[in-house]
């Protein structure tokens, strides 16, 4: 019952009583009519709630396909159409329906909701949304508000209609990316040849003596006549260059909104490099590591290998359980908003009854505790906890924060405030990452073939001053003639400008951005210095510039050139 109807009941009863007492029949008649009308609306409302709403069929189609696609692509638009059909009775009035949007999606056109204002058999609405980042996209269901036509009664419900999709990472197309290596007038050093092995290429590799079994058309007759012995022509073919990517999925790379995380930058680069490499016929593999474990994707070529890699990157992009945080007001607000959106029927005070409490004495604090109790009951129900655990959750902030975080993470909330505090983890997180990276690099070198290209994508900026832990593994890789490229994603998502005189910022945000850029530039310089000394390349961005640099290194490895003479910047 809403406030509106409560007031009307009160007025109706008062009017009826006064009308009868004072013999004013019109007043009594009018007031009783209002009371009866409210009674009729009440019974009709509950009838709709029991007989019509549970039998509503929901059909959600993605991109006009009848069968839901298993895979979607990050950064692309999807057209979603939701159709509600009343199997028993009709829909409305008034029915407000909204599709619960996950954080990994952003509406581009349409509103994602509809209002049914009069009785009808079906209702439909559609909208277009953009998927922000790779990972899993879960469309859980519809949030419904059932009201009578005059707003006297209201019920909030959640109609489950779960659909889960695997979102593959976006990548730059091969045609858009060109290596930065200069091709024209590139004279290799004397004695250096392209990687060669015998095959059925077009260029002559060598001449050798004929052995039984060689095809007759490969016999070089003129040379054989000159040398008085049968000689066979040996043609060359290129050996594919193996690319192995190391992608860092530590906590610092997962913090931020979907599509804006450092991990999203790195995955974009990884997918683009893989696409270019596969287009050139080179096999691509990856090692995905984070604080939990390390997963190796063996190098493979072709479309099948490419999509297997994309699938692995997409799975890697899913955030695991977040690091533990203290309970804050914002976290409490976030979890209560989630509960009221997804579990409105569990917040009904007739179902989720409140116990009598003497303490705390302050009404505001008691109200806050009761609200926390409501959420604690929902958490207990969801995770199968006992009733005494509900009281623990009410009074133990750490335990409540733990379960609240767990629930928020399960519902796809991004790692931002208040779920994960974006504090300056800095140096210590960087050290942990370097340890993992060293181990992954060493393992990769141990199982490597010749002349591989290692692309290391990790957040190393914070520990640029001290990367000694990484150097031994790096030296081992370089000593085996592998090429190593570092891609360090930028927290500010843009390259620091070199010329500061161009624009003169006056507002606080620009000044802060400039200060961040200065710090990033300094750290970048130190990192580059440390790694260049050993012969590794560094790119400070998760953009096409980094991809071009990696392609250049791949071509260098293929050609056998030692230097990047004529390389564009």
């Amino acid at each position: 019952m809403t406030t509106r109807s409560r007031w009307l009941v009160l007025l109706g009863i008062a009017g009826l009583a006064l009308g009868i007492l004072r013999n004013q029949h019109t007043l009594a008649w009018m007031s009783l009519t209002v009371l009866l009308w409210l009674f009729v609306e009440w019974t009709s409302f509950y009838w709709r709630l029991w007989r019509e709403l549970p039998f509503v069929e929901i059909e959600r189609t993605i991109n006009d396909q009848s069968a839901p696609p298993k895979y979607l692509w990050a950064g692309r638009l999807v057209r979603i159409r939701v159709r509600l059909t009343a199997v028993s009775g009709t829909l409305g009035p008034t029915l407000l329906v909204r599709d619960c949007m996950p954080e990994n999606m952003q509406i581009e056109s349409g509103t994602g909701d509809t209002a049914v204002l009069y009785r009808q058999q079906e209702a439909m609405f559609e909208y277009t949304a953009r998927i922000r980042g790779a990972g899993t996209l879960r469309l859980s269901g519809l949030r419904v508000v059932v009201q009578d036509a005059h707003g006297f009664f209201r019920a909030d419900r959640f109609l489950a209609c779960e659909q889960t999709f695997r979102v593959l990472p976006a990548f730059a197309s091969a045609g858009d990316l060109r290596s930065t290596l200069k091709q024209v007038n590139a004279i290799p050093l004397h004695g250096i040849h392209r990687l060669q092995q015998t095959g059925l290429g077009a260029e002559l590799l060598e001449l050798r003596e004929y052995v039984p079994g060689d095809p007759p058309k490969s016999i070089a007759w003129k040379v054989s006549a000159r040398r008085q012995t049968l000689m066979t022509r040996q043609y060359e073919s290129e050996v594919p260059v193996r690319v192995r990517m190391f992608v860092d999925g530590s906590i610092s790379t997962r913090v931020g909104g979907y599509g804006c995380r450092l991990l999203d930058q790195m995955i974009f680069v990884a997918a683009s490099v893989a696409q270019s490499a596969v287009a050139a016929g080179d096999p691509v593999g990856a090692t995905l590591f984070d604080e939990r474990n390390s997963r190796r994707i063996p190098a493979s070529g072709g479309q099948k290998g490419f999509y297997r890699l994309l699938d692995a990157l997409s799975e890697f992009a899913d955030n695991p359980s977040p690091p533990r945080q203290k309970l804050s007001k914002q976290l409490l607000t976030a979890i209560s908003t989630l509960c009221s959106e997804r579990f409105p029927e569990l917040l009904d005070p007739r179902v989720n009854q409140r116990p009598f409490m003497v303490f705390p004495l302050s009404p505001s604090r008691q109200k806050a505790l009761q609200e926390r109790r409501l959420i604690a009951c929902i958490l207990a129900e969801r995770y199968g906890l006992r009733t005494d655990h509900v009281v623990d959750l009410m009074h133990d902030d750490n335990q409540f924060a733990q379960y609240a975080q767990r629930m928020l993470a399960e519902f796809g909330v991004a790692w931002m405030d208040p779920l994960v505090s974006v504090r300056d983890r800095g140096f210590h997180d960087g050290m942990a990452t370097m340890e993992l990276l060293s181990k992954a690099l060493t393992d990769a070198v141990a199982t490597a073939r010749d002349n591989e290209v290692y692309v290391v994508m990790a957040n190393l900026l914070e520990c640029a001053t001290n990367i000694s832990q990484l150097l031994p593994a790096l030296k081992v890789a370089l000593s085996r003639h592998h090429r190593v490229v570092f891609v360090v994603p930028t927290p500010t998502f843009r390259r620091p400008a070199e010329d500061w005189a161009v624009d003169d910022p006056t507002d606080v945000e620009s000044l802060l951005a400039r200060a961040e850029d200065l710090r990033t530039t300094e750290l970048q310089g130190r990192l580059k210095q440390s790694l260049h000394r050993l012969g590794a390349r560094v790119s400070l961005s998760g953009e096409s510039q980094a991809i071009r640099m990696i392609l250049a290194e791949t071509e260098l490895s293929r050609s056998g050139r030692a230097s990047r003479a004529g390389v564009g910047s």
Partner: protein, 270 residues
């Protein structure tokens, strides 16, 4: 903790139709309220102010109070149940106003555009014949819904009439005197009987609705209900156990922090 259902655009014709009807009923009531009484002007001004606030924010209940006050002060007390033209007119106006204002407020709460700002542009479009099919379809639905509502109200008023007619109007009936028997005035006696009868009828319906509500609970709601009922009985005991446990944990951590501080270690702060 109600989540925000986004305000969105609903068909304008609905909002403007009910806005127009609200204005019509408001004007009629303003014209007829308190007639030629000496406080008519003051009452009308207050009604106008409340009416404007209702368009902006309030519900129709406040306007309904004015109608009840009109009848309370100006309707003559009569011993026979007789419904004159005035009575029918006032009832019709009050209930009609309640219906349209409630519907208008329900629609306005869901719309991003304020009705009065776009009312004239919509009227102009309708006159010019833009989107005639859409408007015609929507108008027919508006009319159909209004008709249903009016039919419901008529039915309720007839039932109300029947109920009031059925209960004795007071005075002695077959020698019965409420004053002698119960020390109640006839009107008081009538009120008592009426309210008890209506309450019994409502109570039966309420029991039935509640019973059906319980039977419709899903598994999750049932579990939550069990948790909450158990919590109602045992909350104090659980609370004392939890508080004691937390106190012990805090004491242990303080001791650990103190001992590590004395050893020169970096204390672990949780």
């Amino acid at each position: 903790m109600k989540p925000a259902i986004q305000e969105h655009s609903i068909p304008r014709i609905w909002l403007h139709a009910y806005f127009g009807l609200t204005l019509v009923f408001g004007f009629l009531l303003f014209w007829l309220l308190f007639g030629e009484t000496e406080f008519a002007t003051a009452a009308k001004l207050i009604f106008l102010a409340v009416f404007i606030l209702t368009l902006k924010r309030w519900t129709g209940a406040v306007l309904f109070v004015f109608c009840q006050l009109q009848l309370l002060f100006l309707e003559p007390a009569s011993s026979t149940a007789f419904f004159s033209f005035d009575a029918l007119m006032w009832s019709g106006l009050s209930l009609g106003m309640l219906v349209v204002v409630s519907r208008y407020r329900t629609l306005q709460d869901r719309d991003t555009v304020v009705a009065h700002r776009s009312f004239f542009s919509t009227a102009r479009e309708a006159i010019n014949g833009n989107q005639p099919d859409v408007d015609a379809a929507q108008m027919s639905e508006v009319f159909r819904q209004l008709t249903k509502c009016v039919a419901t109200l008529l039915l309720c008023s007839m039932v109300a009439w029947g109920i009031l007619d059925w209960f004795p109007t007071g005075g002695s009936l077959s020698g019965f005197s409420s004053i002698r028997e119960y020390r109640l005035t006839p009107n008081g006696y009538r009120l008592l009987i009426c309210s008890i009868s209506l309450f019994c009828g409502f109570f039966v319906a309420w029991l039935l609705v509640n019973e059906l509500c319980w039977r419709k609970l899903n598994a999750r709601q049932s579990r939550i209900y069990l948790h909450s009922v158990l919590l109602k009985f045992l909350y104090r005991d659980f609370r004392s156990v939890t508080k004691r446990r937390l106190k012990r944990r805090l004491k242990r951590r303080r001791k650990q922090a103190k001992s590590s501080h004395n050893n020169g270690d970096i204390p672990i702060i949780d």
